[in-house]
Amino acid sequence: MAKNMEQLYAQRLKRYTTAMRNGKPDMVPVRPFVAEFTASYAGYTCQEVTHDYEKAFIAARKCAADFDWDAVVSNMVYVWTGLTEAIGTKYYAAPGINIPPDTGFQYREPPEDQAFMKPEEYDEFIKDPTGFLFNIWLPRVSRYVTATGKPSSYHNNLSFLKGGMAMLQYFNSFGRQNELLRTECGTVSAISGIFKAPLDIIADKLRGYLGLVNDLLERPKKVMAACEALMPHLEWMALSAASKEVPIGYWMHRGCVPFVNMEHFNNFYWPTVKPIIESIWSKGYQVLFYAEGNWDAHLKSFAELPDASIVYHCDRGDIFRIHKEIGHKFCISGGVPNTLLSMGTPQEVRDCCRKIIEGVAQDGGYIMDASAIIQNDAKVENMKAMTDATREYGIY
């Protein structure tokens, strides 16, 4: 039993990191990725925690202190509208502005004919991705930034000044938040750094999903070259804020079957992700595969990675199949359906947690969490049931 907060933190950090290395800690760690749930629990609206990140921090710490959680994301409501409104970002629907105050922020992909990169612009992007982002992409995604060659404006100048300073202020505030999580709650900040796959970036922010899948058929060499051009930048960014204690978050979107076919996964997605993960691991960093949706068709590919190089998070996949196929190599997390947390009973949640622990966690290498990011539809009593059941059935 920990005597003080620092001991509690050390105990939880050891529990969390042991499980992530696929080892057997003293008990199954609880690491829920709670986003807008924190707002409803702390008495805030989604608008309040999205617009005022100090409230988001307070809400995250309140949950961490009140529930017996080993690790949480410092602020899973990661989009701060102070920053996105300074830049004039077009693609977000912000709670309280474009959508009701109690709806979580939304990403709005533009129609295919208004994609942020045109099909004939691949070569320009491949030649200089960073220049393309500043000169072509940013003026298209921002209401304020003017295109190169066009007259500058007050809005344009303010966008860079306010955007830069706001981003610096926001990122710097995470140091204090992580320290308060440690000293007030004894809770570990669960991840550090960000990674996304080249193919997902092209779909999410450049060509749109429909544009990408057309390009995979009509100009596959350009798509591959663009993925390869992105690779060194995405690795550099992943490592720029990484920690050797906790993994880099890898947010997996639409690179799996059936969003793309198996041939596209094997020839485009995986060859432009695997070398990055291997390189990151060789430098001493782990990556958390946050496999949103169902990536079960690709487990054999993931098994090619070095033992313990990743933590694999299960959303809609079959967690028992995942454990059977890759559990001997990697720690697994998640698997408790979000629908159960929002519409089930506490007993149903307890039964689900017990089944997962008995089927997946017997040899260690498992972290309790919901399937997907937990929003404000989850019931407090069900979150408590998930935590309590893990503490009851998850002792080694």
Binding site: Y78, P129, G131, N135, M237
Partner: protein, 56 residues
């Protein structure tokens, strides 16, 4: 702002030191110090645009 006709830049770089260096007729003191500080601040701009793409 960097002209888009310039050649590809390495990760962490928006405006390469080699280009910046052309602005100076000479550097009378510690050239490496000037280079390091230029590159440190330049990487902040890099982090800004890539986080716009990746995180926001």
């Amino acid at each position: 702002m960097v002209n888009r006709s310039e050649s590809a830049k390495k990760p962490g770089v928006c405006f390469p030191w080699e280009e910046k260096l052309k602005e100076f007729s000479e550097i009378k003191g510690d050239k490496e110090l000037v280079k390091k500080i230029w590159e440190d601040v330049d990487s902040l701009a890099y982090v800004y645009i890539w986080h716009c793409l990746l995180s926001f």
